[in-house]
């Protein structure tokens, strides 16, 4: 094998030639320079329909656009490739999108209503491996099933190009998720020509893993302000260059290179050494130091929630799995809520701007209300409640994740230790269980194995259901998530169904406010905090607007000298 390697090297050396592009001094385009951004992980795939994680989204948001997007710096819906927000029919089922008329894809083909419907039909008609929930998670999460899966209904009905620049999308049911979900990068519009040319739907691979087609690996073709230049996996870098034919304000930078640097300290040091111009997921302890050294820390609004899940052990087999039945008693859950010193956690472990949570969504989401039962830090009260419930000394299996830093939970181990001491002070006994984040921790909590556990969520778009519905609505089998013990709270589930299918936004908001109050009385978990994650850039980087959804647009970024 070494011999073969040698032969390969010799063969390569015979024809080795530099294929570097010489910098062209083209007078027309302004030179905006190169920005290097430190990412925590590699993007997974470059076809938005198959994407679901933050690192992939960050790159795709520069290359692609959807019909709707969010206002820079907020979670508010604004038109993207649509020229205006859609008109909604009276029954709330048909959405008419007027489209921009001056848009071309990176491959030079025109953007129009047919291209929009082509994409929707593509998503609906995915087959084979593409139906794998790991491949198309967001389609399945928001819309349900596919054309050939009658057993799994989908809420999307049809798309019709009523004229060249008007697309009419019809749904099967009313839901608060639509059209807000269209601002997700997963529902970006690809060039139909490129999709066909590079066989985008040809997701193959049986046995071990999906194999993505050429389109998803080398030829992403959207309408965004940047296009793909090069994806260098060996060196952990992906380069995108300015799209000079962009319909809107063209980007200022010539190119952006996203470099993968998994370790947080390495990212910080590389910024300090001038090797990169910015990075994401800044450790809360580094804010001050970075600012003192002349870097710009850009905190995003907290669009997330950290909670302490409590397992009521209502699912079949919970007792056999060793779940403590004590948590079925509301007084014990209230004791936990009063025992947790949220303020200390917020002030000592979370960055500036973080706040203690009183319910399971941040105040910026429609449906948040002050009108809920608030559980203050009160160890005495906690102890009393525990005594009333005759549950002093109850042992709780407390699960927490290691090796992970989430936007809502920068250091899970530290937060665990504080809560763990709090609960012991209140009269509980704690049995700590640590697991690596993915898949072990997520698997264990989702299977209802923890008595109490730490978890959280960053919202996908401004929608109450995206928060509380995800956590507390009925799941498969008509019961709540196993995380919280699979409770069967009919009243709660009915309220959810009612709110989700209410077409009038104002009425819906009122329904969600009532739901929040209802949830805080039922107390399936303890809301802990909302924490603002931050980006950092060098001081010569201008124009990067932090987004609460972590969906920053780099086209407005410039480098000053």
């Amino acid at each position: 094998m070494l011999a073969t390697g040698l032969v390969a090297v010799l063969a390569a050396s015979a024809c080795a030639e530099s294929d570097r592009e010489e910098p062209t001094g083209d007078g027309d385009t302004p030179s905006g320079g190169t920005l290097i951004f430190g990412a925590a992980g590699d993007p997974k795939v470059l076809d938005p329909a198959f994407a679901s994680d933050g690192e992939t989204f960050r790159v795709l948001r520069q290359i692609y656009e959807g019909l709707l997007t969010t206002e820079p710096g907020s979670a508010n819906l604004v038109p993207g490739l649509a020229s205006d927000l859609p008109e909604v029919s009276e029954d709330g089922l048909t959405y008419t999108f007027p489209l921009r008329e001056d848009v071309v894809f990176h491959d030079g083909t025109d953007f129009n209503a047919e291209a929009v419907c082509f994409n929707f039909d593509r998503w609906l008609n995915f087959s084979g491996t593409a139906q794998n929930p790991g491949v198309t998670p967001y389609w399945q999460d928001v819309f349900g099933g596919f054309a050939d899966t009658p057993d799994t209904p989908n809420i999307y009905n049809s798309c019709e190009a009523t004229d060249e620049f008007t697309a009419e999308i019809t749904m099967n049911v009313v839901t608060s998720r639509f059209p807000a979900a269209l601002s997700l990068p997963s529902f970006s519009i690809s060039s139909p020509a490129a999709l066909e040319e590079f066989e985008a739907d040809n997701v193959t691979g049986s046995g071990d893993a999906p194999t993505y087609p050429e389109y998803a690996m080398e030829h992403p073709t959207g309408t965004g302000p940047f296009k793909l230049d090069n994806w260098d996996l060996a060196n952990g870098a992906i380069t995108i260059v300015r799209n000079d034919d962009y319909w809107g304000e063209t980007a200022i930078l010539d190119e952006i290179i996203f470099r993968t640097i998994p370790d947080g300290n390495t990212r910080k040091q590389e910024l300090e050494a001038g090797e990169i111009d910015g990075y994401d997921l800044v450790a809360p302890g580094d804010y001050t130091d970075l600012e003192d050294n002349g870097f710009d820390v850009l905190p995003r609004d907290a669009f997330n929630i950290l909670y302490l899940g409590m397992n009521q052990g209502a699912w079949e087999g919970a007792a056999a799995a060793g779940i403590n039945p004590a948590l079925a008693d509301i007084r014990v859950r209230q004791a936990i809520a009063h025992a947790v010193d949220k303020e200390s956690i917020v002030s000592s472990q979370l960055p500036d701007g973080a706040e203690a949570a009183i319910e399971f969504m941040p105040p910026t989401v429609d449906g948040w209300t002050e009108d809920v039962t608030v559980y203050d830090y009160d160890p005495e009260r906690a102890r009393q409640l525990l005594e009333d419930a005759d549950a002093v000394g109850t042992t709780l299996k407390f699960y927490y994740p290691t090796d992970v830093s989430r936007p809502y939970m920068p250091d899970p181990g530290a937060i665990f230790e504080v809560i763990s001491q709090n609960l012991q002070d209140a009269g509980f006994a704690i049995e700590p269980v640590a697991l690596t984040w993915n898949p072990d921790y997520l698997e264990a909590t989702a299977n209802g194995l923890a008595d109490i556990h730490l978890l959280g969520w960053t919202g996908d778009y401004n929608d109450a259901y995206n928060f509380i519905g995800t956590f507390f609505d009925a799941k498969a089998g008509g019961i709540g998530k196993l995380d919280f013990g699979g409770y069967n709270n009919e009243e709660l589930f009915t309220a959810f169904a009612e709110a989700d299918s209410e077409p009038d936004p104002a009425v819906r908001t009122g329904l969600y406010e009532a739901l929040n109050a209802q949830i805080m009385d039922f107390l399936p978990a303890v809301p802990v905090s909302h924490s603002p994650p931050a980006l950092v850039v060098a001081d010569n980087v201008e124009g990067l607007v932090p987004s609460p959804l972590t969906s920053e647009d780099f086209s407005t970024v410039s480098l000053t000298s």
Binding site: G285, D289, Q349, L350, T402, P410, E417, Q421, L435
Partner: protein
């Protein structure tokens, strides 16, 4: 890859060969002679001194520690960009949860020593089992056992440790097992090599000629004369174990019970506060270096002392 002793066949075999040379021919007992030379060796003295401090602190940790290592004394004063440093009652300051750093360091020595000792003993026992099987019985069994050992050696050590930790859950015991597993093939190879050398030595051949039963030769003569390289390796692997525990913690596979201090996990956790409080990393790091240096130097000196070639 963290260890000093990424078990190298050749080095192990060589160590075996070096230290397994024949029985004492002089008038002085081998042990006494070794001790004498040990005392004259500055490397040995330094190593022994460091190990002594380490073991002493670990043994009397509960008495030496001024405060409870679990209590969150100054949590309310901690900010993401400020962790209280040295002050009255807290000579080394507090950690990111407001706990007394000095007490945690002192009690941490206990856990570190425990991990080192228990994982080494586990690796030693299983590894010696393999070694005796292979070196004592020889033939087909030798081949099979050694192929198995080769397989274990060809898997990167840390990788094996990670999978073991994932299998057994994150607690003190699984960390010990994870580290022990990486030590097994090293001990096995070492003992086998040294037993093979002994088996062909003059006295073993002579016993065999005299008709002494095989089992008696192995357990009565060959084995006792073969263990010295294993003992030496054991001191070295104590150091490796302490360092490897830090690596496992860094990867998020440390002990789930955060209240129990251990140097490796303290160092790993401090990585998040390097700009705010670098001392939280330096203190446990210095402790690890001292303990690991102590064991390695002592082991090295022991090896030299046991090597008859150095007897003058």
């Amino acid at each position: 890859m963290t260890g000093i002793d990424l078990g190298k066949k050749e080095r192990i075999d060589r160590l075996a060969e070096l230290t397994a040379t024949g029985p004492d021919q002089g008038g002085v007992s081998l042990t006494r002679d070794a001790l004498r030379r040990l005392r004259r060796n500055p490397v040995a003295l330094l190593g022994a001194f460091l190990v002594f401090i380490f073991v002493f602190v670990a043994a009397f940790a509960p008495l030496l520690a001024p405060k409870d290592p679990r209590t969150l004394y100054l949590l309310r004063e901690v900010r993401p960009n400020f962790i209280p440093g040295s002050r009255e009652g807290f000579p080394l300051g507090v950690d990111n949860l407001g706990r007394d750093e000095l007490s945690r360091l002192i009690l941490g020595s206990q856990q570190s020593l425990l991990i080192g000792v228990v994982s080494t003993i586990m690796g030693l026992v299983v590894g010696m089992g393999f070694g005796i099987l292979a070196g004592g019985l020889g033939g087909k069994i030798d081949t099979v056992v050694m192929r198995l050992v080769d397989i274990m050696l060809s898997i990167p050590g840390l990788l094996m440790a990670i999978t073991v930790a994932l299998l057994l859950g994150f607690n003190q015991f699984s960390i010990m097992v994870a580290i022990a597993v990486t030590q097994v093939p090293i001990f096995a190879r070492l003992l086998r090599g040294s037993m093979l050398a002994q088996r062909n030595s003059d006295y073993a051949v002579a016993s065999r000629c005299l008709g002494v039963p095989q089992r008696k030769i192995i357990f009565g003569h060959v084995l006792p004369n073969s263990v010295s390289p294993v003992i030496v390796q054991a001191t070295l692997s104590l150091a490796t174990a302490i360092i490897e525990a830090a690596a496992l913690s860094f990867l998020g596979l440390g002990n789930a019970d955060r209240a129990i201090p251990e140097w490796g996990s303290m160092l790993a956790e401090a990585q998040d506060f390097l700009t705010v409080a670098p001392r939280l990393a330096f203190y446990p790091c210095i402790c690890i270096v001292i303990a690991a240096l102590g064991f390695t130097l002592l082991g090295e000196a022991l090896r030299e002392a046991l090597d008859p070639k150095f007897r003058r």
